[in-house]
């Protein structure tokens, strides 16, 4: 399993609290990796560090053998790592289509002048791509609506669409299924994630609370607790560990 994104020896402290303590994670290329743990374990903080929104006190983030620890977050997106947010952070006053269109990187035909002055509606290729992505997440019939008019479930789908639009190779998804009903999860999200791996060659890392989903979907799992990696392995191995069973896997 070639590792495409790695965090090595990551430490991060806030005020008096150590959020991450010597964390080592390795995300394998073309696979789905899971990140689980109780609330406050540091999962989102780790995502923040991997995606450049937080700089670690110590440690490195390596992407395709390049050290990206201190790069600006938007530069990291260009390199190929994109993340979604637990709080969605969509552009609520803009439409779904606008949210997706904005996230598509600048095409070859665009230069500074056209970016500044040409109406975005005229960019046929981007428009096609945006609609295609909206079809993929099953939100096509709502593209003209402002995001704040959508239901929570629909907004979550838009968040994923926006992530896909960036064209990044590695997708970090922060609780993509929380708040969604089982039907949507099973019929839309899960097949979509699988398709992204098999058809589009993406690499995915999920933070999830649903142990069931993680075991169902992930090839490899990291368990975080109080800022430390307490266990890692494939789902089958982890399931058999009794100590972990009691600590984490209630109801799995």
């Amino acid at each position: 399993m070639a590792s495409i994104l790695e965090g090595k020896g990551i430490d991060k402290t806030f005020g008096g609290l150590q959020a991450l303590n010597q964390v080592d994670v390795s995300i394998a290329q073309g696979k789905i990796t899971g990140l689980i743990g109780p609330n406050g374990a540091g999962k989102t903080t780790l995502f923040n560090v991997l995606s450049g929104f937080l700089k670690p006190d110590r440690g490195q983030v390596i992407f395709k053998n390049i050290d990206i620890t201190h790069k600006a977050p938007q530069a990291i997106v260009h390199q190929g790592i994109a993340r979604s947010w637990q709080g969605l952070r969509l552009f609520e006053n803009l439409t779904v289509l606008e949210n997706i269109m904005m996230s598509i990187p600048r095409g070859e035909k665009e230069n500074s002048i056209s970016t500044l002055l040409a109406p975005w509606t005229r960019n046929k290729e981007k428009l096609e791509r945006a609609l295609e992505i909206s079809r993929l997440v099953n939100i096509e019939n709502r593209v003209q609506y402002a995001v704040r008019e959508l239901s929570y479930a629909e907004q979550k789908l838009v968040a994923i669409a926006r992530l896909l639009a960036t064209g990044a190779e590695v997708l970090l998804l922060d609780e993509p299924t929380s708040g969604l009903d089982e039907k949507t999860v099973n019929q839309v999200i899960t097949p979509l994630l699988r398709e992204l791996i098999s058809q589009s060659g993406k690499t995915i890392c999920l933070v999830e609370h649903s142990i069931k989903l993680v075991f169902h979907m992930c090839d490899y799992v990291f368990c975080l607790d109080e800022g430390r990696v307490v266990a890692c392995g494939n789902p089958l191995e982890l399931r058999q560990d009794e100590k972990l069973q009691r600590a984490f896997f209630y109801g799995a």
Binding site: P73, Q74, R89, N93, L94, E98, T115, L116, T121, T166
Partner: protein, 289 residues
């Protein structure tokens, strides 16, 4: 009739000011209280170039735009890297610095005495000396500015600006450089304010620092909030109404001229007080989250 033309001309110039300010506050959500400073730099540049440098109108205007854009970078580059709260103060102190420079750099700006005797604008030999002809010039430039800003609003760049207003961090997470976008927005807004400055200098043919002080920056803010933050028609509406308001005061009988200034300020302040609480999106704006 002459009076009406005068109002229209000033209104058109103010429209340029408010519409360009809209790029910052309305589209991007950057509250910068220094628009009058850009206005002033533009005006003074044109005044000096035309009067002492023998420039004709358009070349002077282009230089004014260039210089004002450079000025805006002085404040944008350090100012936009810091948190919003600081940007407000930063812009405000920039406004005050520019104002004091205008007031005190006797050698260049003649301080409070201002610069009189600015020659009328002429383009290819045609002099825009009469009011109707200058009105035409204003109309053309104002339309050009509005068209330009509309194009920015509907462009990919404009979309990102609107995203920044909603959630800067999210904009970073889709791969856009927030600081760069803000700097460009600043530069464009400042350049357009310089266009307005060029017009006012050529029109009044005498400028002084008092016209480009904090008062004016606040006027622009109030006009935008009144008309509708984020919407170009709103900006234009606000500019027109607030330009006309003080003129209407003149027609009120028994209003002593000594309190004219205070009354005007009171009206502006009351508008702002009312709108901030009850209708912050302005007359034509859309309610936001």
């Amino acid at each position: 009739m002459d009076y009406l033309l005068h109002i229209l001309i000033v209104a058109l110039i103010n429209i340029i000011l408010v519409v360009s300010f809209n790029i910052l506050l309305g589209f991007t959500g950057v509250f910068a209280l220094c628009h009058a400073a850009f206005y002033g730099v533009g005006a003074y540049t044109v005044a000096l170039l035309m009067k002492s440098g023998g420039f004709s109108f358009f070349p002077a205007m282009i230089c004014a735009v260039g210089l004002t854009v450079c000025c805006s970078l002085v404040i944008a580059i350090p100012g936009l890297r810091v948190h919003w709260d600081y940007m407000v103060i930063f812009a405000f102190s920039f406004q005050m610095i520019i104002y004091h420079v205008m007031m005190n750099w006797m050698g260049l700006t003649r301080g409070p005495q201002g610069i009189p005797g600015i020659p009328p604008a002429s383009v290819f030999g045609f002099e825009f000396e009469s009011k109707p002809s200058f009105l035409l010039l204003c109309l053309v430039l104002c339309s050009a500015v509005v068209f330009f800003v509309r194009r920015i609003e509907t462009s990919s760049f404009g979309l990102v600006l609107k995203g920044i207003k909603d959630d800067e961090v999210a904009v970073q997470s889709i791969g856009k450089n927030v600081t760069l976008h803000k700097i460009v927005a600043f530069a464009v807004a400042a350049g357009l304010a310089a266009v307005a400055g060029s017009l006012i200098a050529a029109y009044i043919s005498y400028i002084s620092p008092g016209y480009f002080d904090l008062h004016m920056s606040v006027f622009v803010v109030i006009a935008l909030i009144f008309g509708g933050v984020g919407r170009i028609p709103g900006a234009a509406l606000g500019a027109m109404v607030l330009t006309a308001l003080p003129e209407l005061l003149r027609f009120i009988p028994y209003l002593p001229s000594t309190i004219l200034g205070g009354t005007r300020d009171l009206i502006y302040a009351t508008i702002l007080v009312f709108f901030m609480l009850y209708r912050p999106q302005g007359l034509m704006g859309k309610a936001r989250q």
